[in-house]
């Protein structure tokens, strides 16, 4: 079939990286794997079109993220909020500082988590994140700022940032609340 080789090559080159990115967005490795594989299946179904995109990896990342979020939302209906808040992180071999990061990422809103990952892991500028997430650039900036503030106790780069107050702590982050951004 047409495009088999370049699909396989694309899969080999990008799949592991995408799992890492979606895992950072969701905090659940199994779910990230399932979502990424499902995204590649959908990509193969429309590969002639997807391969012509400027950034097919971005398309896959967006689809995988949406799949994982849908799965997560369904799971959320079955679980109590208390259970989620206390669920343990089962990631064998992960260092304590990264376990703490996973735990912290899980406690901030998914919208903030997504822009944090897109900016700090994928390396996208604000404008491109705005395009990928379908939100205004100002909102992206606000989410980045709030996400950084919530993660500040875990990272050194924000220690001297005057915009982050010493009182800010992950435990004080309110995952359910998000005010509109001031662009």
């Amino acid at each position: 079939m047409q495009g088999v080789d370049d699909f396989d090559e694309f899969y080999a080159r990008t799949s592991s990286r995408l799992v890492g990115q979606v895992f950072a967005m969701t905090g659940n490795l199994g779910e990230a794997e399932d979502a990424v594989q499902e995204a590649y299946i959908r990509a193969w179904q429309r590969w002639p079109r997807i391969r012509s995109y400027d950034d097919p990896e971005g398309w896959l990342r967006t689809v995988a993220y949406r799949i994982s979020m849908n799965a997560w939302r369904k799971a959320r209906n079955r679980l109590t909020a208390q259970h989620r808040a206390t669920e343990s992180v089962e990631l064998p071999g992960l260092s304590p500082d990264l376990l703490a990061l996973v735990s912290a990422l899980r406690k901030i809103p998914e919208s903030q988590r997504r822009v944090i990952v897109l900016h700090h892991l994928v390396g996208l500028p604000v404008e491109q994140i705005a395009l990928e997430t379908g939100t205004p650039a100002g909102t992206v900036k606000a989410r980045l700022a709030r996400g950084r503030r919530a993660l500040a106790p875990l990272v050194s780069e924000f220690d001297d940032d005057p915009r982050i107050t010493p009182r800010t702590h992950i435990r004080q982050a309110n995952p359910g609340r998000e005010t509109p951004a001031h662009a």
């Binding site: 895992f23 500082d97 990264l98 892991l121």
Partner: protein, 194 residues
Amino acid sequence: MHDTLDTQLSRLAGYAAGSTSLDQAPALRHRGTRRTKRRRGAAALGAGAVAAVVAFSIAHTGAGTSPHTAMSSKLPSARLTADQVTLLAKAHLTPTELAALAKTGFTAAELKQLASANLSAAQIAAFYGVERSVEQMTGGLSNAPLTSYQKAALAKEKLTAEQIAALNDLKLTAVQISALGKADLTPAQLAGLS
């Protein structure tokens, strides 16, 4: 001393990338292709059923509602070309055959081949259960003067179209066919048995 957020996220993603166990690309492609075929097949059969029932209705009653309308209305809706609808309508499939085909997930082109092979609903169902290819179903079996029991037995074995065709002249029981299928003989060897 903490790392930067970039570094920590990179390490986290690296951990996930190193720990992941994804399926191979061909397996994912296969799943995608099967899913597409299933959708197209369901769509094609929906229109085929409607066309066949309409043709049947017009031919036998002039117009109006056929007694099979209730069955056909349960099949999924479809987007077929006029040529495809005409071909399926000319295939004179019974509602039972259409219902059996509806479960197979073949493409419209494959259905056209199957429709012309005059296979029974039982055969179609048996072939689908063991994932026969269209070539195997039509290339070998449709020309073979075998009983439906023999064909059903053949369908359960992993024989190629050539192997099936080589069995044409044999008067084998279902048990014998099953044994041959397990032996994985070449077409030449099978022909030598006759």
